[in-house]
Amino acid sequence: MSQQQWTDVPDEAGLDALFAEARAADPAPPSDAFFARLQTDAQAAQLPGAAGPVTPGLWSRLGAILAGIGGAPGLAGVGAAGLAGVWIGFAAPGPTADLVNSFWQGAASVSPRASVWVDGTETALDTGSADLLSVIDGEMQ
């Protein structure tokens, strides 16, 4: 390459000529020893069980199952539920009546007597539920 061709350097246009020279330079090919190493790697990876279609192993199958239940978050949920079950089993919580009462906030202990359920000024009833049913029957008739 002549000196004249480089008069533009370091302009970017001059760089293009430098790049062209670099591309044209014949790079040393891989040495025989290196190529042999690459071939050895290729053959080793091609050994049965190394490169062929592989049957999914235990971990792969577990991974597939895990993916089916939503991945790690799903597994965490299942684990938490399991631990909660174990805890309940060991802790043996007492009767749940208190829990029910607190849930219904006293509604479960409301008197079934009709006087509580209807306005006393209209019916003046102070009877049990059986009486209430008879009153309702009378109304329907």
């Binding site: 970017e12 790079p27 071939q39 091609q46 062929g52």
Partner: protein, 189 residues
């Protein structure tokens, strides 16, 4: 750049996965020299370049049974692996993250003043080595490997516009760096 005569790389890779040793050799002859050349240009260290090439080829063999033909070309995939491996080594050399590397805008001819080599290509290699990693990769792929911008984008995992920006900045920076080596380049004063 990517296309090769004869059976396409997808077919050869499928044959390799099926146990065809000849296909392995054909793929090696077709791809290994390119990957080695790229690694040499990026790393400028023959031993490291061979290591990267060997690792990249090994990964290709390992993925062969799961390779899905019709997607990315094996050559493009291999270039990407090689670029990533080389970039990792460049980062380790510098001991800092890629994003932490400053990309100077101002000419700094003093950086290259001490260089005494007279070979133009050597000067180019040395200037390339001073570029930030991503600029170096983009410039090497574009101007030395002759890849198109979309091919570079696929290889680097970035957009075409980013490729254009990187190559433009890299080329500008190279020109600045080589300004201090006019004699080496045969540049008339």
């Amino acid at each position: 750049m990517i296309a090769s005569p004869g059976p396409d790389d997808d077919a050869l890779l499928a044959r390799y996965a099926a146990g065809d040793a000849v296909a392995a050799r054909q793929l090696l002859e077709r791809l290994a020299p390119r990957i080695l050349r790229l690694a040499r240009r990026l790393l400028q260290d023959p031993v490291e370049a061979e290591d990267v090439t060997q690792e990249a080829m090994l990964r290709l063999w390992q993925i062969a049974p799961r390779w899905q033909a019709g997607g990315a070309q094996p050559a493009t995939w291999l270039h990407r692996v090689a670029v990533n491996l080389a970039t990792d080594r460049l980062r380790r050399r510098r001991g800092v993250g890629l994003d932490e590397i400053a990309e100077p805008d101002d000419p700094d001819p003093g950086v290259v003043e001490g260089m005494m080599q007279t070979d133009r290509l050597r000067a180019l290699d040395e200037a390339l080595a001073m570029l930030p990693d991503r600029q170096r990769v983009a410039v090497v792929l574009r101007h030395l490997e002759g890849m198109t911008n979309p091919e570079i984008a696929a290889t680097m995992g970035i957009g075409v516009e980013a490729v254009e920006s990187l190559t433009a900045r890299g080329k500008r920076r190279l020109a600045q760096l080589l300004q201090g080596r006019r004699d080496d380049l045969g540049y008339d004063r």
